[in-house]
Symmetry: C2
């Protein structure tokens, strides 16, 4: 679906599955960690083995960034998806090298913005699964969508 969505197009209960899976490599896990989360269990297989994670694991912030990528590809908001805040992120399972992630986003709630009258606020929950359909992350995020008819 390439139609751009406006606030009026979005209703509670609508679901947006990701349009593909995202394969996570050891290289990406380590490169992200070097930049943003330089902890042994995100940087090195051997250090990961002796850690809480029992192996190399992706930074939860890498997983969150990949989830944003999958959401942006599958929910095409007119003018772009502008974040209005995160209500919750839970990391349920480690993300490992070779894991393939996909998401399903659901619209929970929509309301006109009080502070920005040409926008609505869309509350959404996204469940992120690995290739075994295990939930690796749950999140609730608000974003803005422009109102089509501004009177």
């Amino acid at each position: 679906m390439t139609t751009e969505l406006y606030f009026e197009d979005l209703h509670p209960g609508m679901k947006f599955p990701s349009i593909r899976s995202y394969k996570v490599t050891a290289e990406e896990i380590k490169a992200f960690a070097e930049n943003y989360d330089p902890q042994p269990f995100h940087l090195d297989e051997a250090a990961g083995e002796s850690s809480f994670f029992k192996g190399l694991a992706a930074s939860g912030w890498l997983t969150a960034a990949i989830v944003m990528r999958l959401r942006v590809e599958s929910i095409k908001i007119a003018g772009g998806m502008i974040g209005a805040g995160v209500e919750e992120i839970r990391w349920m399972q480690p993300v490992r090298p070779g894991d393939s992630l996909h998401t399903e986003a659901e619209i929970l709630e929509v309301r006109r913005s009080a502070s920005r009258p040409t926008f609505g606020v869309v509350r959404s929950r996204t469940i992120t699964y690995n290739q075994r359909e295990e939930v690796v992350m749950r999140s609730v995020v608000n974003f803005l969508a422009p109102v089509r008819e501004t009177t």
Copy 2:
């Protein structure tokens, strides 16, 4: 301070300022966006000008990743800082090329973990400022810290 911190060392009201500022470049904003948030206002100055953000702006997920970097450098948890979930992220101001970010984290609450008896759960709020001391992001994150004395 290089001492590694255990659960017993952390108390509500303790504050951890970042040990440095993090300079955000246009290159990093665009590179992150290409990988994880490929929207025009994060990829291109001209597209940014005509957008909601009125100029090139960092993805909120890049800002969140930079905040993790600054937190990991300033709060040295024994065995590493393991995320136990996000309760809130609010992006208050766009982050622009050339901005220099610093953080202050505060411990809000500590409690032993019911499900993991050798860990405690630490609830923390982090305020992220730019070089004009404007708040660009607020977040509340829980992390695990190992208990020193396990009986």
